[in-house]
Amino acid sequence: MKSLFFAEIIKLVKQSKTYYAIGAIFVIELLILMTAYYQGSTILDLLLDNLKQSFYFEGNLLNGNLILYIVLNSLWFNVPLILMIVTAGIVTDEYKDGTMQTIALQAVKKWQLIAVKYLIAVFFTLLVILFMVISTFILAYSFFGKGDLVVYLNTLNFFESADAFQRICWSFASGAVAMVFYSVASLTIAVLIKEAAKTWIVAALFLILTNLLLKLDLGTDALNHFFFPKLIDTWQQLFYYEIDQFRIIVNNVLLVLYSIGLAVIGIWVFHKKDIG
């Protein structure tokens, strides 16, 4: 297992698509920063004009914490889409290049081969999120400084700078769990479909459906609380005034369990299926 994992790391490091993925996320961050730099103040002034007459806000509201919150919102679609494409490639590229067959012709256990691919997908996802966190913190605080955070979730919520920082850190951690879920789901789709283009279409559909189902009332409490589409926005619950810690922990544990379940299905299918 260790040698298989090491081989996967080498492949990840030597492939250009790894850097394209990181580059794409960095470009999203830069676009958000540039938009905020040139137009952010105007938009905020329009939104908060009335409130500013009644309340005192410490510092500039267009600050690093707001930028971080906006970047966090790319966890809805942009980041999971990029992650799903890259992680699906861990399997589909091997089928396309014929290397899956070459590996299967070596003295390697099939279940270990695919289990390591799930591990590397999780590792890569966490690495990308870590890169995203560090780069965004550096850029956002360097260009916009710190300050109070204003967030609109049903109503306008205001957080002091230090409180906002903590909430952002925890929401990135919770978001990482959601991203791991998407990556694992994408890898399982890739195991089932094998072909890159079809896998991307199905993965994108999965992402869209998950986002749509999140907004729908699914009829029963069980589904509304425990079905996986209802868990992927847990990171956002950290921006309500009252944080339901127990709910957030349960949601994240459930997402981890869903991820493990999807990985087990993928490993089982891969083990049973013929290669070639």
Partner: protein, 284 residues
């Protein structure tokens, strides 16, 4: 026997692709599997290598090594963005085979690949990729090697060089080698034993010499002034200025050559024209 496949059958939704096929190969032997495209060669190879499961039949490998069988199916599957050295290192590493620099270089030298190429294998010629594929197949010292269409896309020098490598592996390392091709001339050059597959069924088997003598009826004779030969008029032949194509049984060839020499025609070459169709059609 090193590898024995018995009564193998396999069906897909499109129909039966293998029907009660048996095959066996001894250590140090080179066996050829001949068949048209779509005859079932690759499916048989995939079953022998354990990539797909047969609906019926069994595969037995008489080897106790960690990797009893190595091979290339359809094309060498390589990481295009890695060098030959890194490809070998990765495939060696994942199965716990020796992956130190010296061992990897030995594999590169064994298949005749240069040690100073550090560029990605996407830049390699098909022949070099085939060689690297064989080096990967040889990792962990398998006792049996299966090569599916190893000559396709290679130029004549590449084919000749690959045949030398295959013969070396069988002769010096006693590896049982099974090759497939739809090009009979290439297989007949190096194989001790031939299997002919058609429509998922084994239609002909025998030593290469046997099959040629029993089924090949077309021979090309090269000689100066062969057009003036009287002897050739007794045979079904198409005669050019210095070359004639003769249709006869292999057993008649020594007599024909004797008569040509007696007539004063200096024969410089006589080669059977190998055609897969003849092996398939004559067997049916």
């Amino acid at each position: 026997m090193m590898l024995i496949g018995t009564n193998l059958s396999k069906s897909y939704a499109s129909g039966k692709v293998l029907d009660d096929v048996s095959i066996q190969i001894a250590p140090g032997q080179i066996c050829g599997l001949l068949g048209r495209n779509g005859a079932g060669k690759t499916t048989l190879f995939k079953i022998l290598c354990g990539l797909i499961k047969p609906d019926e039949g069994t595969v037995r490998l008489n080897s106790s090594r960690p990797k009893p069988i190595g091979g290339i199916i359809e094309r060498p599957g390589l990481y295009p963005y890695l060098s030959a050295y890194d490809n070998l290192k990765i495939f060696a590493g994942i199965q716990g085979a020796r992956s130190d620099r010296q061992s990897i270089q030995q594999y590169l030298l064994k298949v005749g690949l240069p040690l100073d190429r550090n560029d990605p294998v996407r830049n390699f010629s098909l022949g070099m990729k085939q060689r690297l594929g064989i080096a990967i197949a040889l990792l962990n010292d398998p006792e049996c090697l299966v090569l599916d269409e190893p000559f396709s896309g290679l130029d004549p020098i590449g084919v000749s060089s690959l045949i030398q490598l295959i013969e070396h592996l069988a002769l010096n390392e006693h590896i049982a080698i099974l090759l497939s091709s739809h090009m009979m001339a290439e297989l007949s050059k190096c194989c001790h034993f031939l299997y002919v597959i058609e429509g998922g069924k084994m239609v002909n088997t025998g030593t290469s010499a046997q099959l040629i003598s029993q089924h090949i009826r077309t021979f090309t004779i090269v000689a100066e002034n062969i057009a003036s030969s009287v002897t050739l008029k007794k045979y079904e032949a198409s005669v050019g200025s210095n070359e004639a194509k003769v249709w006869c049984n292999a057993v008649e060839i020594p007599k024909l050559l004797g008569e040509l020499l007696a007539e004063g025609i200096p024969v410089t070459a006589c080669a059977p024209e190998l055609s897969l169709e003849q092996l398939i059609n004559r067997a049916e």
